[in-house]
Symmetry: C2
Subunit: 706 residues, 2 copies
C-alpha cells in the first residue's frame, strides 16, 4: 500500500491554511483609515465578538450535553486485547467537529471585521483596490473553511485508523463510523450559527429600516440610527460567521457521505483498497489548490471594469481546473477493472463522469439562480412591473417567481441524480456532490466578499465619506447580492445530492432493505418529514418578525427619549440595539435547532428505521423546494427594489426611488429578508443535519420495526 496518499488531503488542507495566514496578514497590514472610521469599525467588531462569545456559551452547553449522550451510548471494540469504547471516540470527534466549525466561523468573522474598514479606506482610492481588499478578506474565510474541513476529516481519519488498527476487516468501517461524529458536530454548530446569525442580521436590518428609513426618513447606515451598528454587526455574524459554519458543515457532510459509501466498495487498488474512500478528500484537497489559483485571477483594471466578470473568471477557472485534475486523480487512484457497489457495477471512468455531472449541475444551478434573481432579467422585471399596482401585487409577483424558480433546479437535480447514478451507482451520486463542492474555498471567497463590501459601505456612510466611496462599495455590494444567491443554489444542490448518499448509507447501517413509501407508516413519516421545513421556516421568519419589532420599539424609544440624536448632538445607544439582537437571536434559535436534532431521534426510536427513512425523504424533498423557493424569492425582491435606485421603465415611464412603486418594492424586500437570509439558507443544513443524526443513531435503531 502506498501509505503516503492518506497524508495528501490533510497536507493540502494545511497548505490552504498557510496561504490563508499570509492573506490574513496582508489584510491586517492595509490602511484602516482615520480615527472615526476605526472607532465605528471597532464598535462593529466588538458587537460581533460579543455575539460570538454569547453564542459559544450557549452552544458549549449543548455540545457538552450531546457529547455526554454520545459517550454514554457505549459501543465497545476489543483491539489487541485492549477495549476501545468507540462511543467515546465518536464523542471526541463530535467535539472536534463543533470546535472546528466554530473556528471556521470565527476566522471568517475576524478577518471580515478587519477587512470591512480597510475596504472603505481602499475605496477612497479605486474600485480595483477595494475589490482586492474585500475579496482577500473573503478568500481568508474560504481557505479557512475548506482547509479546516479537509484537515479535520483527513487528520481524524488517520488517527482513527491507527486507533482501530487491531480491528482487522472492521478497521476502516469503524474509523468512518466514528467520523460521522465529526460531521454531526460540524453540522449542529452550522445550524445554530446559520439560524442564530440569520435572525440577528435580519432583525437588526428590518428594525433599522422600518424606523430609520421609513419613519425618520434618514438614509440606510446613517450614524444617527441607533440600530445601524447592530445592522452592520449582523452582516458579520449572519452572512459571514453563520455562512462559514454552514458551508463548513455542508462540505464535511458531503465528503463524509462519499467516504461512507466508498467504504462499502471492495477494490483491488494500489492503496490497500482505500481509493474510493480517499478520492473525495483528495479531490477536495485539490479543489483548495485550484481555488487559490482561481482567487489570483480575480482582479479588475479600473473603476469601469465588471466585478462580476472578474469573479466569474476566477470561479469558472477553478472549477474547470478541478475537473481536469480529477480526471488524473481518478486515473491514478482508482483501479482499472469493474467496481461494484451494492447492485451497481461501474468503472473508474463512470466515477469521473459523475464528477463532471456534479460540476455541470452546480453550474446550471448558478446560472438559473442568477437568472431568477439578477437585475434586468425577466423575473425581477416582472416584480418591478407588479410593484406599480401596489404592495399586494409586488408580493404576489415575488412569491410566484420564487415558486417558479424551483422548476429548472429540480429537473436539473433529478437529471443529475439519475445520470450520476447511471455512471457510478450511489457512489456516483455522492462523488458528484463532492465534485460540486470541491471548490468551496473559491465559492465562499466570492460569497463572503459581499458582506464585507456591504459593511464597508456602511462605514463609508456613517463616516460621511465622499459619495464616490459609497458608489464603489455599492458596486461591490450589488455583485455580492447575486453571488450570495448563487452560493445558496450550490449549497442546496449539494444537499439534495448528498442526501441520497446519506439515505443509502443510513439504509446500509440500519440494516433495512427498503424505504417503501406506500407502507402506511412510511407515508406518515413522509408527511411529518415534509412538514418540518414548513414549521422550521415559520419559526425562523416569526423570530425575525418578533425581534425586529423589539428593535423597532427600542429605536423609537431612543429617538423619543434622547434629544439631539437627529442633529448629531447626542450619540445613540448603539449597544442597547446590539444587545436586543443578540438576546433575541440566541433565544429564538433554540426551538428550530431542537426540532432538527430531536425529531429523528424520537421517530427513529419509536417507529424504527424505515419510518425514519420516510421522514428523511420528506424533509429532503420539502426542504430543497422551500430552500430554493425562499432564497430565490428573497433575492428577486431585493433586486426588484434595487432596480428603482437607478430608475426603471414601467409602462413607458421612468420610475425612481421614492415613488409609490418603489415603496411597494420595499415591502417585498423586507418580506424577502428573512426568506433569503434566515430560513431559506438553513434548509440545506436542516436536511443534512437530520440525515447525519439518523446515521449516528442508525446502529441503535436497527432492530426496531413498527
Amino acid at each position: 500500500m502506498n501509505d503516503y496518499v492518506i497524508y495528501l488531503a490533510p497536507s493540502l488542507g494545511i497548505l490552504g491554511l498557510v496561504v490563508m495566514a499570509f492573506k490574513s496578514a496582508w489584510v491586517v497590514k492595509q490602511d484602516a483609515g482615520d480615527a472615526n472610521m476605526q472607532e465605528l469599525a471597532g464598535h462593529i467588531a466588538d458587537g460581533a465578538m460579543a455575539f460570538l462569545k454569547a453564542e459559544w456559551k450557549v452552544l458549549s452547553i449543548f455540545v457538552l450535553f450531546t457529547a455526554a449522550l454520545l459517550a454514554y451510548s457505549g459501543t465497545v471494540h476489543t483491539v489487541n486485547g485492549k477495549e476501545i469504547h468507540s462511543s467515546w471516540v465518536i464523542c471526541i470527534a463530535f467535539i472536534v467537529g463543533a470546535v472546528f466549525s466554530a473556528t471556521a466561523g470565527y476566522i471568517g468573522m475576524r478577518v471580515a471585521t478587519k477587512a470591512n474598514v480597510r475596504t472603505t479606506q481602499a475605496a477612497r482610492t479605486s474600485l480595483k483596490q477595494a475589490l482586492k481588499v474585500s475579496f482577500t478578506g473573503g478568500t481568508v474565510m474560504g481557505l479557512g473553511v475548506a482547509g479546516l474541513a479537509v484537515l479535520g476529516l483527513g487528520g481524524l481519519f488517520i488517527v482513527f485508523l491507527s486507533l482501530f488498527a487491531g480491528l482487522g476487516a472492521n478497521q476502516v468501517r469503524t474509523a468512518i463510523e466514528v467520523l460521522t461524529g465529526f460531521s454531526l458536530g460540524a453540522e449542529s454548530i452550522a445550524l445554530f450559527s446559520r439560524v442564530g446569525g440569520g435572525i440577528y442580521t435580519k432583525a437588526a436590518d428590518v428594525g433599522a429600516d422600518l424606523v430609520g428609513k421609513v419613519e425618520a426618513g434618514i438614509p440606510e447606515d446613517d450614524v444617527r440610527n441607533p440600530a445601524t451598528i447592530a445592522d452592520n454587526v449582523g452582516d458579520n455574524v449572519g452572512d459571514v460567521a453563520g455562512m462559514g459554519a454552514d458551508l463548513f458543515g455542508s462540505y464535511v457532510a458531503t465528503i463524509l457521505a462519499t467516504m461512507v459509501l466508498g467504504q462499502e466498495i471492495r477494490v483491488n487498488d494500489a492503496f490497500g483498497g482505500m481509493s474510493p474512500i480517499l478520492l473525495p478528500m483528495v479531490i477536495c484537497g485539490l479543489g483548495i489548490v485550484f481555488s487559490i489559483v482561481g482567487t489570483m485571477l480575480v482582479t479588475i483594471k479600473d473603476d469601469n471594469s465588471s466585478v462580476q466578470n472578474a469573479l466569474n473568471v476566477g470561479n469558472w477557472s477553478s472549477m474547470l481546473l478541478t475537473v481536469v485534475a480529477s480526471f488524473f486523480v481518478v486515473w491514478w487512484l482508482l483501479p482499472d477493472g469493474p467496481i461494484t457497489l451494492r447492485t451497481a457495477t461501474f468503472t473508474k471512468w463512470g466515477v469521473f463522469y459523475s464528477i463532471v455531472v456534479g460540476t455541470i449541475v452546480g453550474a446550471i444551478m448558478s446560472v438559473v439562480t442568477e437568472y431568477y434573481t439578477a437585475m434586468g432579467k425577466k423575473p425581477v422585471l416582472s416584480i418591478v412591473r407588479q410593484s406599480s399596482t401596489g404592495h399586494a401585487t409586488n408580493i404576489i409577483g415575488g412569491l410566484s417567481v420564487g415558486m417558479k424558480s424551483t422548476v429548472i433546479p429540480i429537473l436539473t437535480l433529478a437529471g443529475g441524480i439519475m445520470s450520476s447514478f447511471y455512471f457510478a451507482g450511489l457512489y456516483g451520486v455522492a462523488i458528484a456532490a463532492a465534485g460540486m463542492m470541491a471548490t468551496t474555498a473559491m465559492q465562499l471567497a466570492i460569497d463572503a466578499f459581499g458582506p464585507i463590501a456591504d459593511n464597508a459601505g456602511g462605514i463609508a456612510e456613517m463616516s460621511q465619506l465622499p459619495p464616490e466611496v459609497r458608489e464603489r462599495t455599492d458596486n461591490l455590494d450589488a455583485v455580492g447580492n447575486t453571488t450570495a444567491a448563487t452560493g445558496k443554489g450550490f449549497a442546496i444542490a449539494s444537499a439534495a445530492l448528498t442526501s441520497l448518499a446519506l439515505f443509502a448509507a443510513f439504509v446500509g447501517i440500519a440494516g433495512i432493505e427498503h424505504i417503501d413509501i406506500y407502507k402506511a407508516n412510511v407515508l406518515a413519516g413522509l408527511f411529518v418529514g415534509g412538514m418540518i421545513p414548513f414549521i422550521f421556516s415559520a419559526l425562523c421568519i416569526q423570530a425575525v418578525g418578533k425581534a425586529a419589532m423589539d428593535m423597532v420599539q427600542e429605536v423609537r424609544r431612543q429617538f423619543r427619549e434622547i434629544p439631539g440624536i437627529m442633529d448629531y448632538k447626542a450619540k445613540p445607544e448603539y449597544e442597547k440595539c446590539v444587545a436586543i439582537s443578540t438576546k433575541a437571536s440566541l433565544r429564538e434559535m433554540m426551538m428550530p435547532g431542537a426540532i432538527a436534532l430531536i425529531t429523528p431521534v424520537i421517530v427513529g426510536f419509536t417507529f424504527g428505521p424505515e419510518v425514519l427513512g420516510g421522514l428523511l425523504a420528506g424533509v429532503t424533498v420539502s426542504g430543497v423546494l422551500m430552500g430554493i423557493f425562499q432564497s430565490n424569492a428573497g433575492g428577486a425582491w431585493d433586486n426588484a427594489k434595487k432596480s428603482f435606485e437607478k430608475g426603471v421603465m414601467i409602462n413607458e415611464e421612468m420610475v425612481f426611488k421614492g415613488s409609490d412603486s418603489h415603496k411597494a418594492s420595499v415591502t417585498g424586500d423586507t418580506v424577502g429578508d428573512p426568506f433569503k437570509d434566515t430560513s431559506g439558507p438553513s434548509m440545506n443544513i436542516l436536511i443534512k443535519l437530520m440525515s447525519i443524526v439518523s446515521l449516528v443513531i442508525a446502529p441503535y435503531i436497527a432492530g426496531i420495526v413498527r
Copy 2:
C-alpha cells in the same frame, strides 16, 4: 347473494336528488325582490352562464380528445364468445364522469344565482329567513353533488357488472377498473373548473378592489364599479360551480379508491363477497340521508342568534348519525371472521374503528382550520398586531401563520393513517377517508351558502337597500368565510388519506413490489413530484395577477372614458369586465391543467411505475402541505382584515377601518385571495387527479423498469 344491496346506494343517491328537486323548487318560489334587484341578479346569472358555456366548449374538446385516447388504447375481453372492448367502456365511463361533474357544478350555480337575490329579499325581513333561503340554496348544491356521485358510481357499477358478467372471476375487477374512467372524468373537470373558476373570481375580486376601493374610494360592490358584476359572477363560477365540481371529483375518487382495495379482499359474506366493495357506497348513501336530517336542524330563532352554532349543530349531528349508522352497516354487511388484505388481517370492527378514525381526523382538521383562520383567535390577532408595523410585517405574519398551521393537521393525518392502517390495513385507511367524506352533502351545503350570502350582500349594496339588509347578509358572509376554510381542511385531509389508498391500488395494478425512496430514480421522481405543486401554484397565482392587471386597466379606462359613471348618470360596461375575466381564466387554466394530466403519463411511460410512484408521493406530500399552508394563510389574512371593520385593540388602542394598519391588512388579504381560492384548494384535486391518471395507465406501464 342478496342482490338488492347493490341497488341500495344508487337508490339513496336518487333520494338525495329528489329532495334536491323539492328544495330547488322552494327556492325558486321565493320572492325575488323589485325590478332593479332582479335586473342586477339577471346580469350576474347571465355572466355566470356565459362563463360556464364558454368553459364547457373548451372542456368538451379536451374530453373528446382524451376519450378518443382512452378508446384507442384497446383492451379486449371475450365475454360469452362476444368481444368487449373495455377501453371503449372506460371511454364512456370517462365521458359520463365528466358530464356528471359539469352537471354538479351547473346545478349548484343555477340555484345559487336564483338564491342570491332571494336571500337579499329575505334579508329585508329577518336574518332567520335570509339564512333559510341561502342555506337551502347550499343544500341543493350539496345534495346534487352527493346524489349524482353515489348514483353515478353505483349505477355504472351495476351496468358494468352485467356487461362483464361472462368474465367469471375477473368480472368484478374489470368492472371496477373501468369505473376509474368515471373518476378520471370527474376529477379532470374538477381541476379545470376549480382552477378556471378560481382565476375568474379572484381576478375580478382583486381588480375590482384595487381600482374601486383603493383608487376611486367607492365601497365594495358599488354599482358604479364596472368590475362589480364580474366580481359577483366570480363568486358563482369559482366558489359555487368550481367547488361543486371539485367536491364531486374528490368524493368519487375517495369512494372509488376504497372500492378498488375492497375488490382485492376475498370474504365469505352474504353478498357474494361484494361487501367490502359496497360498504363505502352504502355509507356515503346513508351520509346523504343524514345530511338531509342535518340540514333540517340548521335554523335560528332571531337576528341575535349565532349562525355558526346553527351550522355546527347540523354538521355535527349529521356526522354523528352517520358514524352510528355505519356501526350497523358494518355489522350487517361485513362477515364475522378475519378479513385479509395483502399483509394485513383484521376484523369488521377494525373497519368500523377506521371509520371513526376518519371522522375524528375530519373533526380535528375542522377545529384546527377554524382556530388558525377565525377572528379573535391568536393567529389572526398576531397578524392584526403585525399589521401595525406595516405591509411587510403583515405579510410575514400571514406567511408564518400559514406555515405553522401545517403542524397539527399533518400530525393528525399521520396519526390517522397509522391508526386506521393498524385497525384495518390499507382498506382501513381508504374507508377512513370515505367515512370522513360521507357527509359531503352537508359539508357542501355549509360551504355553498357562503358565496350565496356574499352575492346577496353584493346585490343589496348595488340596489342601495337599507343598511340593516347588508348587515344581515354580512353576518352570513362572515360565517361563510370560516366554513369555507374548514371545508378546505376536509378536502385536503381526504386527499391525503385517499392518496395512500390510490398508491396501494396503483402498486397492485402496476405489478410492482415496492416504491423505494432510496433508489436514485425514485428519489428523482420524488423531487420532481414535490416540485409540481410549486409550479402549479405559481401558475395559478400568476394567472390571477395577470388577469387582475387586465381588469385594473379596463376599469381605469372606463372611469376615464365614460363620463358620468361616478354620478350614477352613465352605466359602466359591465359585460366588458365579465368578458376579460372569462377569457383570462379559460386561457390561464390550460397550463396547470396540462401539467397535472400529462406529467404522470410522460414519467410513467418513460421511467416505469416505481419512478411514477415516487412522483406521486412527492406530489402528495408537497401538495398537502402547500394546500394547508396557502388555504390557511389566505383565510387568516382575510379575517385579519375583517377584524378592523369592527375595530380591534393594538397596543392598547382601538384601531379601525381606514387606518394605516388596516391598509396593511388589505395587502395581506389581496395576497391571500389567490392563495385561498385558486391555488390552495386546487391542491387536493391535483393530488387525486395525478393518482387517478396513474391508476388508469398502470396496466400499460406495468412492464417498464428504468
